[in-house]
C-alpha cells in the first residue's frame, strides 16, 4: 500500500521511481498511473540538454577521450567502469539479436543504475507547498545555477545532467546564507568556509562535526518555467 503511494508520488513529481516494495495486487494501478502520467501533453518530449549530455558521454566512451567538462569528470570515470561491463555483456548477444524479428533478448546484467544518485539528503517539502516560478527555463542552461529568494525560503536552482535541482540556500552548519560561485558551480558559506555543490552535496569544510548535505527542494520545469514547491508567502 505505502510503496504504491510512494511510487505514484514519485511518478507525479517526475522523480526516479526508485527501489520500492510494492504489493503485486496494485500493479494494474501502477500501470494505469504510468499511462496517465505519460499521456500529458509534451510529457514525452526528449530534452535537448539530455540529448547533448548523453552525446558527450557516448563520445567519451566510444572515442576513449576524456570528457571535456571538468566537473563531470569524476562521475564519468566511475560510469565508464560500470558501463564497459554492461556493453560487453550486451554486445555478446549481437549476432542473435541482429537477425530480423528475433525475440531473443541480449544477455542481462545485474548492476546498479548507470547514473549515480546523489548522496541521501533531506527533502524540504512544505505542508501547503505551491509551485512557484523562480526562473525562466531558458535562463537555466545545462550546468548553470540561479539563486532565488521567495521570502519563505531561499535557495538555488540548477540544471545538472539535464535534471532541474533545487536546494536550500542556508548552510547546514549554523544557518548562514550561502553565496553562489557560478564558474566553480559551488555554494560557499561566508561564515566558516564550507562549500556545497549546486545539487547540495558537501564538497569541503574545516569543521570538526559532520555536515549534512543541503536539503533538496522539489523542482520542476513546466511550460518554459522553472518552479519550486515552496510554502505560500504570508501576504494575507
Amino acid at each position: 500500500m505505502f510503496g504504491a503511494r510512494r511510487f505514484v508520488e514519485n511518478l507525479l513529481r517526475q522523480r526516479r521511481l526508485g527501489r520500492l516494495r510494492v504489493d503485486p495486487s496494485t500493479d494494474a494501478e501502477l500501470r494505469t498511473a504510468i499511462l496517465l502520467r505519460s499521456a500529458r501533453v509534451g510529457a514525452d518530449s526528449v530534452h535537448e540538454e539530455f540529448v547533448s549530455s548523453l552525446h558527450q558521454r557516448l563520445a567519451a566512451e566510444l572515442d576513449e577521450t576524456p570528457a571535456p567538462v571538468p566537473l563531470a569528470r569524476r562521475k564519468v570515470i566511475v560510469r565508464l567502469g560500470v558501463t564497459a561491463a554492461a556493453s560487453a555483456a550486451v554486445g555478446a548477444g549481437l549476432d542473435q539479436v541482429l537477425a530480423p524479428r528475433s525475440t531473443k533478448a541480449p544477455a542481462t546484467t545485474t548492476r546498479e543504475p548507470v547514473i549515480a544518485a546523489p548522496p541521501p539528503e533531506q527533502e524540504l517539502t512544505p505542508d501547503n507547498g505551491v509551485w512557484t516560478t523562480v526562473a525562466a527555463a531558458v535562463d537555466l542552461p545545462e550546468g548553470s545555477a540561479i539563486q532565488f529568494d521567495l521570502g519563505t525560503i531561499t535557495g538555488f536552482v540548477s540544471r545538472t545532467d539535464a535534471e532541474v535541482w533545487a536546494v536550500s540556500g542556508i548552510c547546514t552548519h549554523l544557518g548562514c546564507r550561502l553565496n553562489l560561485d557560478a564558474p566553480a558551480k559551488m555554494l560557499n558559506c561566508p561564515c566558516h568556509g564550507a562549500s556545497f555543490s549546486v545539487t547540495g552535496a558537501v564538497l569541503r569544510h574545516r569543521l570538526k562535526v559532520a555536515l549534512s548535505p543541503l536539503p533538496r527542494i522539489q523542482a520542476r520545469e513546466i511550460d518554459g518555467a522553472i518552479q519550486v514547491l515552496a510554502p505560500p508567502t504570508s501576504s494575507g
Binding site: 500529458r40 526528449v46 535537448e48 557516448l58 566512451e61 530480423p100 501547503n128
Partner: protein
C-alpha cells in the same frame, strides 16, 4: 536517402510529433548510417519516448535511454542497416527495461511488446495514441474521479491546487485521487486488453 519529416508527414504519426521537437532528419529503409553519431541522433528521440511510455518518469527514462545507447553503440559500429540498428536498439531497450523493473520492484511491471517494436521499426515512432487511451478510460469514470485524475496527472497540478479547483479539502482530494486511480485501473484492465 535522408528524409526530412515535414509537417505533412507529421500529421500521419498517430501519437503526433511534438511541435517543439527540433526538425528531424530521419533515415529510412535499408540505408546504412555513416557513423555512430548519425545512429544516435536519428534514434535517441523514439528510444526515449518508447521508454518514457513504459516508466512514466523523465529521470528514469533518461537513465534507461543512457543505458541502451551505452550498451548498444559499441557493438553497432558494424555496418548494419537502419532497420537492423533499430531492431537491435529495441532488443536492448527491452532488456534494459526488464532489468530496471527487476532491480526496483523485483518484477516486470511493464514490458516492451512485439507490436510496439514492429511499429517503431516500420514508422520510427512509438505508435499508440496514449491520450486517446486515457480519454477512453476517463469517460467511464464518475465526474469527480475524472477531474482529480485530469488535474493531478494531465495538468500537473498539486493536491492543493486540485483541492481548490474541486472545492474539497486537500485530504479529500488525496483520498479521491487514490480511489480514482483504483477505479481507472479496473476500467483499463477491462477495456485495455
Amino acid at each position: 536517402m535522408w528524409t526530412r519529416r515535414d509537417s505533412g508527414e507529421r500529421a500521419d504519426t498517430p501519437d503526433g510529433e511534438r511541435a517543439n521537437d527540433p526538425p528531424l532528419l530521419r533515415m529510412v529503409g535499408a540505408e546504412v548510417y555513416p557513423n555512430w553519431e548519425a545512429i544516435y541522433r536519428d534514434n535517441v528521440g523514439w528510444v526515449y519516448r518508447m521508454l518514457y511510455a513504459k516508466v512514466g518518469s523523465r529521470p528514469d527514462a533518461e537513465d534507461l535511454t543512457t543505458e541502451v545507447f551505452l550498451a548498444a553503440l559499441r557493438p553497432l559500429r558494424v555496418s548494419a542497416s537502419v532497420r537492423e540498428v533499430r531492431s537491435y536498439l529495441v532488443s536492448t531497450a527491452r532488456t534494459v527495461l526488464a532489468d530496471h523493473w527487476r532491480r526496483t520492484l523485483g518484477r516486470e511491471l511493464t514490458t516492451l511488446d512485439e507490436d510496439l517494436a514492429e511499429l517503431v521499426l516500420d514508422e520510427g515512432h512509438t505508435g499508440r495514441d496514449r491520450l486517446a487511451d486515457v480519454e477512453r478510460i476517463l469517460t467511464e469514470l464518475p465526474e469527480n474521479y475524472r477531474t482529480v485524475l485530469r488535474q493531478r496527472y494531465l495538468h500537473g497540478n498539486s493536491l492543493k491546487e486540485t483541492a481548490a479547483v474541486m472545492g474539497v479539502t486537500v485530504g479529500n482530494a488525496k483520498v479521491l485521487q487514490h480511489r480514482a486511480l483504483k477505479a481507472a485501473a479496473k476500467v483499463a484492465e477491462r477495456i485495455g486488453g
